[in-house]
């Protein structure tokens, strides 16, 4: 007797992580845009903090070097 093989998901289909239901194309795009907005926000904020930390460190080093040269 032939057993029915479970249908494989199309590569474009996604499962909603909360409801476990199949997402339609519109929901997938909505999800991708929301993720993009959140990721970009964090990238900008953390990128700025990293740049600021590097600037602070360079400034500290320059001040220490100037002090050493003075003595």
């Amino acid at each position: 007797m032939l057993s029915k093989k479970p249908r494989r998901l199309d590569c474009r289909e996604k499962i909603d992580f909360k409801t476990r239901e199949k997402m339609d194309q519109r929901a997938i795009l909505d999800h991708q845009f929301t993720v993009a907005a959140y990721v970009i926000t964090w990238a900008i904020q953390l990128g700025y903090v990293a740049w600021l930390a590097l600037k602070w460190r360079a400034q500290k080093r320059a001040a220490a070097r100037a002090n050493r040269n003075q003595h």
Binding site: T34, A37, Y48, V49, Q59
Partner: protein
């Protein structure tokens, strides 16, 4: 003691950001017409609010610099550091607004950008403050701080125009969520909570990086003053 207080503030801010993220993504329900993409609102609007606050701090710093530059040079330098820190961190938050807005607009309206009053005035605000930062970065001479302060005051004049733009003119941008008439406001308590937590979290984060930027600028001013003094002594 000071280090402990700073560490505690950083820990509370990180916890707040995590909680606000949970509220925005998991706790708040899907909006009826826009569905999931409406969740961009929880990052977009608080970022705009924080940007406006920091541009106001920059305005106060610019006015302070112009007021104290002749008779109280120390106060003028402190004011100038606040002006620069407010403008720079404000630009960071305004950049977030200008990127998350079109991402929402592409799904909600079908277009990335339109030249309506709210969007255009926000872009102009961003351009004015970017030019303020470029002036601070690349111009040289004794008048740079004064010129930047004047530009900063003109930039801040755009903030109330941005805020009122979708009240004064018919715009494609959604109507004001708060203070926009009897129909405005968030009706769902879970959505309102998510919004409130995100405002609080981004404000705490913004104040943290504002304080860091101010500290870096003050150090830079002291270092530059010392260098100038050493150069004078050598001659």
């Amino acid at each position: 003691m000071k280090k402990l207080a700073i560490g505690l503030y950083v820990a509370v801010t990180v916890a707040l950001l995590g909680w606000a993220f949970y509220q925005a993504i998991y706790a708040a329900p899907d909006e009826q017409t826009m569905h999931e993409v409406q969740r961009i609102f929880y990052y977009h609007v608080p970022s705009a609010m924080v940007a406006f606050l920091f541009f106001a701090i920059s305005l106060a710093g610019c006015i302070g610099f112009l007021a104290f530059r002749r008779n109280r040079p120390d106060w003028a330098q402190v004011s100038d550091a606040w002006a620069l820190a407010g403008a720079e961190v404000g630009v960071v938050f305004c950049t977030v607004v200008l990127i998350t807005g079109p991402l929402w607009g592409r799904r909600a309206w079908g277009i990335w950008w339109t030249w309506d009053a709210r969007l255009t005035t926000t872009l102009v605000l961003w351009l004015i403050y970017v030019s303020y930062l470029l002036l601070r970065r690349f111009a040289a001479g004794p008048q740079v701080q004064t010129l930047a302060a004047v530009l900063g005051i003109f930039g801040a004049l755009d903030v109330p125009i941005v805020y009122m733009s979708n009240r004064w003119w018919r715009t494609q941008h959604p109507a004001p969520v708060f203070g926009g008439g009897p129909d405005s406001g968030i009706k769902d308590p879970a959505m309102l909570a998510a919004f409130g937590w995100n405002v609080l979290a981004w404000l705490a984060w913004g104040l943290l990086i504002l304080a860091l930027r101010y500290h870096v600028e003050r150090q830079h001013q002291k270092y530059a003053a010392q260098e100038a003094l050493d150069a004078l002594e050598e001659t």
